[in-house]
């Protein structure tokens, strides 16, 4: 038995317990009190938090192991404080069959450092045409359905997908992008795209499809989750829908509250991501949405790429940011230390809330529950060094930035999945 000693425990369900010892085996044996332990880990002055839950990441396996694989991706996740991650199906082959879902789960069981929950595709090959065998995907262990990376272009097909999925209990996660408005766009459409001469992606490319999904969910009385919300307009639509009682939830990603489209100046393709970095006003709207509860979840959209896919012309570079290893620190730096969210709220949006939306029994600490937890120093300053990432993807615009707050130790099922080198 391990005793994590003297930290401030946030149980993820509203309880704050200062100076508390936590005893763990593969489960949490006891929170508080005194027991005999084989090993003592000093956490005085640190926080003991539920392991983070990422409901949106790309592990790239099968098919793109040169970008990332389940082993390297989950190692990076552990370093970022995540103990459960849900990975998107845009692999090769697409996760649109029971066999491919099982492959990811089995692979994760043998080489994974954290718990991996595959998300199945909504349509075969993510082509937006034929629905996948959703019951089979559910049976094989898919925790949600999404064509992430691609929108489902037809409203009619999305309607049928929502209806059909409702009997499987699986949530549909929608990547909202009206492609006729994207029209070859490379970055947010605004004064920066005009000056840089890059084709713009208007905010309405996201908002029109967010509106569509809300109307469908409302009319059908079904739920839907909106992936990576990035614009003030989308947030406003979701806010109103929630007020009307529509069963819509949504996530944003750290880069949408930590960076804006001015970062594209200089054409560094590490700033290229989809949806694109938006305006300073959008960043403020994201913060407001997080603060007033419109945005339920912070997900990473961890999207590792090979450097050959980023150190090229902006227009040729692929979209995506390697996000596991900076997500929590960006949340602390830009949300908690600036007073947008309390630490409890940040942890809820990165653990309990995504777990609840996916129906996972995770994201909180309780006696008898799995020992998935982290020790974090929320005041520690450090400088991001992408070359030191555990992820194969070094593609981050935050390389070289100084952030405040770091995960020191990650336990999954009571076993150390990550320990920061030289942490003491």
């Amino acid at each position: 038995m391990i005793c994590i000693k003297g930290g401030t425990v946030l149980d993820g369900r509203g309880r704050v317990l200062p100076g508390t010892d936590v005893y763990i085996e593969d489960c949490i044996v006891k929170i508080g009190g005194t027991l005999d332990a084989d090993e003592i880990i000093d956490a005085a002055g640190q926080y003991i938090l539920p392991g983070l839950v990422d409901m949106h990441c790309h592990l790239r396996e099968p098919g793109y192991e040169y970008k990332e694989d389940i082993e390297s991706g989950t190692r990076a996740a552990a370093a970022g404080g995540f103990t459960s991650v849900a990975c998107m199906p845009n692999t090769d082959p697409t996760l649109d069959s029971a066999a491919s879902i099982r492959y990811v789960r089995e692979r994760a069981e043998s080489v994974g450092h954290v718990r991996v929950y595959p998300i199945g595709a909504v349509t075969m090959g993510q082509k937006g045409e034929t629905l996948t065998q959703m019951h089979e995907l559910a049976g094989a262990g898919a925790v949600a359905l999404s064509d992430d990376g691609h929108p489902v272009p037809s409203a009619g097909i999305m309607r049928r997908a929502m209806e059909y999925a409702s009997h499987t209990g699986l949530l549909i996660i929608s990547h909202c992008e009206e492609m006729s408005l994207v029209s070859g766009g490379q970055m947010h459409e605004g004064d920066m795209s005009t000056v840089l001469g890059l084709r713009g992606i208007p905010a309405a490319a996201e908002g029109t499809m967010v509106a569509r999904e809300i109307l469908l969910a409302e009319e059908l009385g079904l739920r839907v989750h909106i992936a990576h919300v990035s614009t003030a307009g989308s947030i406003e639509l979701i806010r109103h829908a929630k007020e009307r009682g529509v069963a819509v939830t949504c996530e944003t990603c750290p880069h949408y509250f930590s960076a804006d489209h001015t970062w594209v100046e200089g054409y560094d393709a590490r700033t290229k991501v989809n949806p694109p970095l938006r305006t300073a006003e959008d960043v403020e709207a994201v913060k407001e949405g997080l603060s007033d509860g419109t945005i339920d979840v912070i997900a990473t959209d961890h999207a590792p790429h090979h450097r050959d896919e980023k150190e090229i012309e902006y227009e040729l570079a692929l979209n995506g940011i390697s996000g596991f290893e900076t997500a929590f620190a960006l949340g602390l730096t830009h949300l908690v230390h600036t007073g947008v969210l309390s630490l409890e709220q940040l942890v809820e949006k990165m653990a309990a809330d995504p777990a609840q939306i996916l129906g996972l029994d995770a994201g909180y600490l309780k006696e008898g529950g799995p020992a998935d937890l982290i020790i974090a120093d929320i005041e520690r300053e450090w400088t991001v060094d992408a070359e030191a990432f555990f992820s194969k993807g070094k593609n981050t615009p935050f390389d070289g930035k100084t952030l405040t707050g770091r995960v020191l130790h990650t336990f999954v099922g009571g076993r150390t999945a990550h320990m920061l080198e030289g942490k003491i």
Partner: protein, 311 residues
């Protein structure tokens, strides 16, 4: 001598530096008007033009500029399709570098490509047009030509008419001319006007008459035929009627207005033939000015390197 390694764009370049370039171009222009055109300024230097888009005029202009100044000049043509499949730009740049190149002049269909190249080579990089971003040497030669006729750009009213969205010439001229004290008015269909272009300081006019009223300089931009296929304008005919520069509208401008066009002109679309003839007469002058401006830039950028090497 102009204190920078590369010339990637005119955005942010101050009027002092631009004046320095234009003044140097004045001297070069005098050389071009002599019978003996060869000067030794760039003896021992190597200039490579690397063009990923077709161009005759700009490329020849650079090549002649280099040769008149006794530099070695070599040309590399890469097709646009090789951008996506062939060697990476960084690798190409390094190869050119290893061959002892002092200046790389690059044209590329993608915005920001010269910036990428410039970060990875020690050679000076001159942007000869990158996507919809900038075409600084074209704007400098436009400004040089105007200055030749008016003495100064300060206080001039410039109207740029047409497809602003896709025009790197327009963007460079907006930055350059405004820095030199001119005011710039823009007009074109809303589908060809980039969002928030007002943030550059330029004034957007809905009606072409409004833009041309009292103008000292009118610049027409080429309307690519594929803009109609792309659904950005309904027809060339309507475009010509509503936004075309014709003799009647020319009466709104100053009497001695300078008509410019980066060429080639679609006669009867962005300009009627009568107006195009006026523009053509300026274009002839600009060909010579273009060589002078490029000589000045090659000289200033390589001089900078030399003084850097000495210290």
């Amino acid at each position: 001598m102009i204190g920078q390694k590369d010339l990637l764009g005119l955005q942010g370049m101050g009027p002092a530096k631009m004046t320095q370039i234009l003044d140097a171009a004045d001297s070069m222009r005098r050389i071009l008007d002599q019978n003996q055109k060869k000067v030794p300024h760039l003896q021992g230097k190597t200039i490579v033009t690397l063009f990923y888009e077709n161009s005759t005029r700009t490329r020849l202009s650079f090549e002649l500029a280099a040769k008149y100044m006794s530099a070695n000049a070599a040309n590399i043509s890469a097709s646009s399709s090789s951008v996506a499949k062939g060697e990476t730009l960084i690798d190409t740049g390094r190869t050119i570098q290893m061959m002892g190149t002092d200046v790389v002049v690059m044209r590329h269909p993608m915005a920001g490509a010269p910036h990428l190249l410039a970060q990875h080579v020690d050679a000076a990089v001159i942007n000869a047009g990158d996507g919809m971003h900038e075409h600084p040497t074209q704007a400098l030669l436009d400004m040089f030509t105007i200055r030749q006729k008016t003495g100064s750009l300060d206080g001039l009213k410039v109207a740029i008419i047409g497809d602003i969205t896709h025009s790197r010439v327009a963007r460079s001229n907006i930055w350059g001319m405004q820095a030199m004290g001119a005011s710039v008015r823009l007009c074109g269909p809303a589908t060809l006007m980039p969002v928030e272009i007002e943030r550059t300081g330029a004034i957007v006019c809905r009606r072409v008459e409004e833009a041309m009223e009292g103008a000292d300089v009118i610049m027409g931009l080429r309307l690519q035929k594929e803009r109609q296929q792309g659904g950005l304008i309904p027809s060339l005919r309507e475009y010509a009627t509503v936004y075309g520069i014709n003799t009647e509208r020319m009466r709104l401008a100053k009497k001695d207005v300078i008509v410019m066009h980066p060429g080639p002109i679609n006669r009867g679309v962005e300009m009627t033939s009568d107006v195009a003839d006026q523009a053509e007469s300026v274009i002839e002058e600009q060909v010579k000015n273009g060589v002078a401006v490029r000589m000045a830039l090659l000289y200033l950028l390589t001089r900078r390197r030399e003084s850097h090497d000495l210290h």
